[in-house]
Symmetry: C2
Subunit: 211 residues, 2 copies
Amino acid sequence: MPGKKVSEKTIRRLSHYARCLRRARVDGIPIVTSKHLSERCGISSAAVRKDLAVFGEFGKQGSGYGVSDLLENIERILGTCAPPGVIVIGAGNIGSALLESGLDGTGGYSYSAIFDNDPEIIGKTIAGVTVQPVDELREVISEHGDVIAILAVPPGEGQNAVNNLVSTGCISILSFTLEPLDVPDGVVLRYVEVSTELDILTHSMKCRDLP
Amino acid sequence: MPGKKVSEKTIRRLSHYARCLRRARVDGIPIVTSKHLSERCGISSAAVRKDLAVFGEFGKQGSGYGVSDLLENIERILGTCAPPGVIVIGAGNIGSALLESGLDGTGGYSYSAIFDNDPEIIGKTIAGVTVQPVDELREVISEHGDVIAILAVPPGEGQNAVNNLVSTGCISILSFTLEPLDVPDGVVLRYVEVSTELDILTHSMKCRDLP
């Protein structure tokens, strides 16, 4: 079902399967079972089998799934056969750490540029990528076409950075900043919120003794 | 409703309100309206009013909500009045960046310890916290009581680190590593998955022109 819009929960599971399959491919494993995927992805066997049944004729129960075929099908559903470039706004601690950690195993994503407005930082090289001035954002985006922008700017600078990105035509943003940000319709903004994750974990700890 | 288990979606919204209210308190604002919370948190006015109606007698429509009272109530629901300590396993790029970025504005969370098993890194100080050998994990956790452990170890080392944490009694883990990890019942494990976020954004980009 290429091109069909799929729920976020399903995308999340497919994303896990894809990472698992890439590892299997690297390890030279040609065929996997739903049990293998279930164990490696921490997703129940029943859910794995249901997903694979829904998303096409990927294999036959009992005989397993061909790793390359299954991965190709999942990547077609995800739309990640030719993944967009990833740029980072802000070359501080988090931005630098992201570049240094890299995107190995993610199926072809890579950091194509990083921007900052601090003259002390511009021109430095982080994991092989040179920090560019924010002024060059428009040029780089028009050169790359579709990109995902990761926002790693200091508190208070998020909305300006978003406005700047949106004005260049960027429609996909992943924010590591903790402020709520506004985007116009048609722009997808997602958050990585350590602070909210901590609240969710704390709440579950406090509730562990409740019935 | 202190102590009652609340859905993750609601926790996420309450966590945003709490951050908003802390900013208001810092700015010396004594009273906020649901419109203010709605605008600052990027959550619809209707949802804000519904939440505040569900979670107690926080204020009267039209006259706004007392910032301190509302924050206190929300923190009681979240269980974050006395937040647990946060420890980090792995003092590489991501672990170091987390400590350097700090947890200001999160209502009292702070990084209380960081661990690594690399003799070259042990003893270094990151944002005022000295890197300790992993061997000292048990001692530190028994000293601190409940903690949330953030996992920022290299690929392939995640499951060992989790097993080690679980054996010390840790029941709350936030993983920045990309491998699926197993935990026994009663341990809550959450993931910050940049790679999955990229897949979700890519999928939404590919689907933008679909009906």
